[in-house]
Amino acid sequence: MPKLTIDGIAIEVEPGSTVLQACEQLEIEIPRFCYHEKLSIAGNCRMCLVEVSPGPQKPQASCALPVADGMVVKTDSPMVRKARRGVMELLLINHPLDCPICDQGGECDLQDQAMAYGGNSSRYHEEKRAVADKYLGPLIKSHMTRCIHCTRCIRFMTEIAGVHELGAVFRGEHMEITTYVGKALESELSGNLVDLCPVGALTSRPYAFTARPWELRTTESVDILDALGSAIRIDSRGAQVMRILPRMNEDINEEWISDKTRHACDGLLIRRLDTPYVRHDGKLQPVTWREALTAVAKRLKTLKPEQIAAIAGDLADCESMIALKDLMGSLGVVNIDCRQDGAALDTAVPAAYRFNTTIAGVDLADVILLIGTDPRREAAVLNARLRKRWLTGHVEIATIGTPVDLTYPAQSLGDGPAVLIELIEERHPFSQKLKMAKRPMLILGQGALARSDGMAVLGLVRRLAETANMIQEGWNGFNILHTAAARVGGLMLGFVPGQGGHGVTAILDQASRGTISFLYLLNADEVNLSTLDRTFVVYQGHHGDAGAKRADVILPGAAYTEKNALYVNTEGRVQNTKLAVFPPGHAREDWKIVRALSERMGRPLPYDTHADVRARLVAVDAAFATVGVTPAPAAWGVFGEATSFTESLPLRTCHENFYRTDPISRASSKMAECAEVQAELESIKKSIKKGHHLGQEREDD
């Protein structure tokens, strides 16, 4: 390993690292704009100059300079200081002095570094260049005159997001960052450009001119709008969540989050349930908590257990699910289910419903088989990880199911479940590749399970995992990709039908026939409620979405930014959301609502404090005691039905529209705008395809 001296300190670093990385190991700050550790090295801002000997007597860009044995690096010599001051002066030549009206002000790399490394005044009196602003979609506001051409945005879009749409056109002083055609970026990760941009050229459009960073209170939390549980930072002011930013978590999201995670937060203010309601004469009337809970308790007392059912939805937290399960248990109710999309998830062993490889484990896989899933829409950040894996090379990616655009090439093996049998029996050409693989993995989507023969599909995929050597000592290549943050938690807590109980489909069927006359919806909005005319529906949740619309009693709960609650991500990792702002009006933390209801019914649940509920969770599953850590590998077992599939329909992916999947994103006007733009882009794409038939012909020969 090369040994070098930096500012008089000797250090030994990995061969192939750069001088900048070596400096970082010693915690010596090197200013930079274009360098970003997750992106390729560009070396074009020249801010990271250091003095290196031996070598030419001139400063060198440390970000692009590999370490060599015996190097002597100075990061704070007069030469370095002068060079950086010169670079800064040149960077500022065309940069407008509009910090007071710039949204980046207060969290701007250029501002900070100009203070630290720049000169004290400008010698430039000539005219500055001006660049027309570019349209990059509803989420990104551009002010291109501020651009310093670091090209981080281009590299992010090309490398991480896999969407080749941004580029640098023209040259020299006339260079501009643009899509050239003025259309929205077609990526679910475009919001990250705002974080990457070291100046105020790309800023967040929804957040524009709403707050200054020093006014915000920061709360570190996790996201629940998909099942990955990305680490986020909630910035709030007063009672309002102003914006959501990513936090580093190398195990899950590295430092990216999807546009939905980031920008659905305006939905937290819209269509909120802030007071309990009871339906009188067909109309929902606001009532007190006492009246609402009494109405529910009264109705529950008149019913037999088999007439009662409860469904937990996509955003329910573990505390409320265990409380509701315990309450239903005390009433003898067995008709409970947390799989509101009807996905056939087996709770026989935890390995059957988890992302066993772990998200970070994707980096090690050499064959990846995607079954009935579109990770780009179902878990955008995971898709970036898969793309990263593909970029590293030596990997085969294949899909079974309806074709999707993943931003990386994937071989389509077919769309129906018949392919699974061919693979199990090693009759498919791809079987060879599976056989050769050392660490093969598969990702099974909810779309493949949410069908009437889902259990059979699950069984087939389990057998495929076993025959394709995906289950090895220290490696489990069987993965379920969930789309709901609540699902794994619900399954861990056993929020599934008890002995003789009904699942979601049967509950709804029985309810429409009148056999079930009471339905408790805990954050469940994505079930078909259109046939429940005869059912008494209680909806507990935070948004006036589908569930609240049909409800007879509404119990207003707290959204994920308003409660300290546990969620389990698709890997089985238990994580904690934090209270950033208080729930609006009379809305309460969800487990407390269920606890209050149990009190009203005269069957108080045996926990009074949050700590008690957590203790109860740990009693059900010890995994709840360790928050935030990678879960221990789950034991393998037999699950799924051993029968063959009965429907030859294609294995469909489950998200029709990435931007509108849950009550929060459906309430968000920004997400609505994104969905609209997306639809427009789709139609443009179709017309372009038609226009280029000549080019297409060439491909054919």
Binding site: E165, G167, Y180, G691, H692, E699
Partner: protein, 195 residues
């Protein structure tokens, strides 16, 4: 970018498509991006300029992202992003041509065509542009029209060239003073006799 850039339909003619395929075949598979510049040139020769549809067409032909083609096409000044006249008159005004009278050449062009640098005549026949050194200093001043260099110019010969172009003729390229290539202007200075 003007309006028509997005609407002008563009496809290679059968001949050009064949040529384009020959160009693409010069490069190893997977490296078709290398053919971007020759193909853009071919497209420009066909259409006279590069509408966006042509860039998209080239990108589609090479199976590379459109933005990569836009980057190349905007980087080089010899790719024209706007429609130009049939004859593109590029006047060198760098030092040698300047000293030998490029000012006079420019004045002649202005007088005859009634346009300035970067402008096109109303009949869409001529566009004049200023270029940096064309690398023909020995024969200065020079003007490039299409692919041809017209050298050793003065006001009179420039006028003749433009007028014959107007008549639709093809004036003789090269030195307008009749010297051979870059021979000394006053005739040979060495090897005058046979021995």
């Amino acid at each position: 970018m003007n309006e028509s850039s997005e609407t002008v339909p563009f496809f290679f003619t059968a001949d050009n498509l064949k040529q384009a395929e020959d160009v693409i075949r010069r490069y190893p598979s997977g490296k078709q991006a290398a053919a971007t510049m020759p193909l853009l040139d071919l497209a420009q020769r066909q259409a006279g300029w590069l509408p966006r549809t042509a860039m998209d067409y080239v990108a589609n032909l090479l199976q590379i992202p459109s933005i990569s083609v836009y980057e190349v096409a905007t980087f080089y000044t010899m790719y024209r992003l706007h429609p130009i006249g049939r004859y593109h008159v590029k006047i060198c005004t760098s030092i040698s041509c300047f000293l030998c009278g490029s000012g006079k050449i420019l004045q002649t062009c202005r007088d005859i065509l009634c346009i300035n640098f970067g402008e096109t005549t109303i009949d869409k026949q001529f566009t004049i542009d200023e270029i940096e050194c064309a690398g023909a200093c020995v024969n200065a001043p020079i003007v490039q029209i299409g692919d041809d260099y017209f050298e050793d110019l003065d006001g009179v010969s420039m006028r003749k060239i433009l007028e014959s172009l107007k008549r639709g003729e093809q004036p003789k390229a090269g030195s307008q003073r009749g010297r051979q290539c870059s021979c000394p202007a006053g005739g040979p200075t060495t090897l005058k006799t046979e021995d």
